[in-house]
């Protein structure tokens, strides 16, 4: 366990100093800060526009950071030969992979915490009539984005055990887009009794393999408060367990491939 945590800690230290990630983070924070100015354009539904825009910025920025951060983790270690020094110590490969993943998630968490803090500050300043409850509810969305991004990082980590960083970037990005935009569609298709069995079967397979990223977008309920956010605790527990299951599955599959990989 000590080796895993040491590798994770070192990975965080490296990641938070990577210029490309800091630039992406800076752009995200910049958009959060200027967001109130942009929402002035919409005279009606000021709160709705601001919330939607800022949460969208956090989600998009986090997704880009999660992918860019993770796709290079293993290839960089091989290219710089640091992996050889580490694997010649009494460290199993799965220790290494898990440590790198935890480090990536840790660094991602720190960056998302920064953006969430900026988000809360912007809302406290711009929406002074908003209650503390409103702000806390708003801050819930980035927490589930974090769960979503941890799942995305596991997907990217899995692909990084056998494809190049560039291919991984598009693969992981593609899985994220499909899982975010089309997962509800595949779910509906797999439950539709009127469709042919082959179509239903294909939809079920895709829905099972591609994680459902869409379910972590809880901002819809925050923006347009409606019936779907009632009795929410059970839903939250379910989607967190779902994420943990998929993260474990992707990491175990990645470890099995990485264990046989010639580095």
């Amino acid at each position: 366990m000590g080796a895993i945590l040491s590798i994770a800690k070192t990975t965080i230290g490296e990641a938070i100093r990577r210029r490309v990630l800091l630039v992406i983070l800076l752009v995200g924070v910049l958009f959060l800060v200027i967001a109130p100015g942009l929402s002035v354009l919409s005279l009606r539904q000021n709160y709705t526009v601001l919330t939607s825009f800022t949460l969208g910025v956090i989600q998009l920025t986090s997704a880009v950071i999660a992918i860019v951060l993770t796709v290079y983790l293993l290839p960089n270690e091989v290219e710089r030969r640091t992996i050889y020094t580490i694997l010649s110590k009494p460290v199993y490969r799965w220790h290494f992979l898990l440590g790198k993943y935890l480090g990536a998630v840790g660094a991602l968490g720190m960056m998302m915490l920064l953006m969430s803090t900026v988000l809360v500050l912007v809302f406290r300043i711009m929406q002074q009539q908003a209650s503390m409850d409103d702000v806390l509810q708003l801050a819930t969305a980035p927490i589930f984005f974090f769960v979503q991004m941890s799942l995305l990082a596991a997907v990217a980590m899995f692909f990084s055990t056998f494809v190049s960083p560039i291919v991984n970037f598009f693969l992981s990005g593609g899985v994220y887009l499909v899982g975010t935009l089309f997962s509800p569609v595949f779910q509906d298709l797999s439950n539709n009794q009127t469709l042919p069995a082959a179509v239903k079967g294909a939809a079920t397979v895709i829905h099972s393999i591609v994680p459902n990223f869409a379910q972590y977008n809880i901002q819809g309920g925050i923006i347009n408060q409606g019936p779907e956010l009632r009795s929410i605790e059970l839903y939250y527990v379910q989607i967190v367990v779902y994420a943990l299951f998929y993260i474990a599955a992707f990491l175990i599959a990645g470890m099995m491939i990485f264990d046989r990989k010639e580095v």
């Binding site: 000590g2 080796a3 040491s6 590798i7 070192t10 230290g13 490296e14 100093r17 710089r80 030969r81 640091t82 050889y84 020094t85 580490i86 694997l87 010649s88 110590k89 009494p90 460290v91 199993y92 010639e262 580095v263």
Partner: protein, 331 residues
């Protein structure tokens, strides 16, 4: 025999678009405990692949490899060995002592004093709190050696430990390696620095295109030097008497230059020169060097062909120079 490393018929084959390609072929190595073992070969000979197999980073296609009595890659062996790769990279945001603590933690060691002691041992005591990004190449190599001592290893794998270092850093690293042997550790060095290997290694193995060409004690491998005899005032008839299979003899204007093996009784040749009223100009014994053995071992390679070609060109230029001088003298 008490072996630190042993391989039998070790083979590594990769599938390529042009068919299977063996990078290591039927390699039989024996490295004894407590010795400095030089592992030599030209680029692409299979040295790094062999080291990776011994460390368990890649698997062999066939054959056996054992390290410290365990199969290669066994995690128990990893507790007792260390590896310093060629041109190592360290996380640049960390300081010297932080890097040491990181590698120590991989062994479950949480002893800052040990890290500092080892940094002092490699003369980095005053720089331990500086970021690695500010370290010179030599300092990075020294911290590499320091981290390789964290687990008090019985066996060290050093891949090009002196490559690209300035002469002072070079000597420092070489001295450290000699101290490792004095402490009873086994050191396995892969290097192109033949003068270093010749100076510090007890035994060497030379591989070429994945195959073992030579293995043994340096003094045995380098036995059989040559002697160069130069004499004046001789006739060509006398010079022809000295021509033989392993003799290189040249004769011009009464001067004989003979290059003979030291086992060829040079005394008899010298007596014959004196008997013919020749003047002995010089008798120069030349010890066989590791470089000679290395070049013999990789004979047929482009490197050697290039070298021979270069030598021939030099000789040709020298001959032309002599002719010009003679003509000028005649004029």
């Amino acid at each position: 025999m008490n072996l630190a490393i042993e391989t039998k018929d070790l083979t590594k084959t990769y599938k390529t678009s042009s068919g299977p390609q063996s990078v290591v072929k039927n390699l039989d190595l024996q490295v004894e405990r407590g010795e400095i073992f030089g592992f030599l070969g030209p680029n692409g000979a299979g040295k790094t692949t062999t080291i990776k197999i011994l460390l368990g980073i890649i698997d062999s296609t066939s054959g056996e490899a054992s390290v410290l009595g365990n199969p290669a890659g066994d995690i128990e062996s990893h507790k007792k060995l260390s590896y310093l790769p060629e041109k190592p990279y360290y996380y640049e945001h960390m300081t010297g002592v932080e890097i040491m603590q990181f590698y120590a933690s991989l062994f479950g060691i949480k002893d800052r004093d040990l890290c500092e002691r080892l940094l002092n041992r490699v003369n980095l005591g005053n720089d331990m709190n500086r970021p690695i990004s500010q370290y010179s190449k030599g300092m990075q190599q020294r911290i590499g050696l320091a981290q390789s001592l964290l687990n008090d290893p019985e066996l060290l794998f050093l891949d090009e430990p002196t490559g690209g270092l300035d002469p002072i850093a070079h000597i420092e690293i070489r001295d450290l390696i000699l101290k490792f042997r004095d402490e009873g550790r086994t050191v396995f060095i892969s290097s192109h620095e033949l003068s270093d290997v010749e100076r510090i290694c007890d035994r060497v193995a030379i591989i070429n295109k994945g195959e073992l060409v030579h293995q043994g004690r340096l003094d045995q491998l380098l036995s059989g030097g040559r002697i160069e005899i130069t004499a004046d005032n001789l006739t060509e008839e006398i010079a022809n008497k000295f021509r033989g299979d392993d003799f290189t003899v040249s004769f011009k204007n009464g001067r004989l230059i003979a290059d003979i093996p030291d086992s060829a009784h040079p005394g008899e040749m010298l007596d014959a020169i004196r008997a013919a009223n020749g003047d002995i100009v010089s008798v120069i014994p030349r010890r066989k060097r590791l470089e000679d053995l290395f070049l013999e071992s990789v004979a047929g390679d482009n490197v050697l062909k290039g070298r021979k070609m270069s030598k021939m060109t030099d000789d040709h230029n020298a001959a032309e120079a002599v002719e010009v001088t003679t003509e000028e003298g005649a004029n």
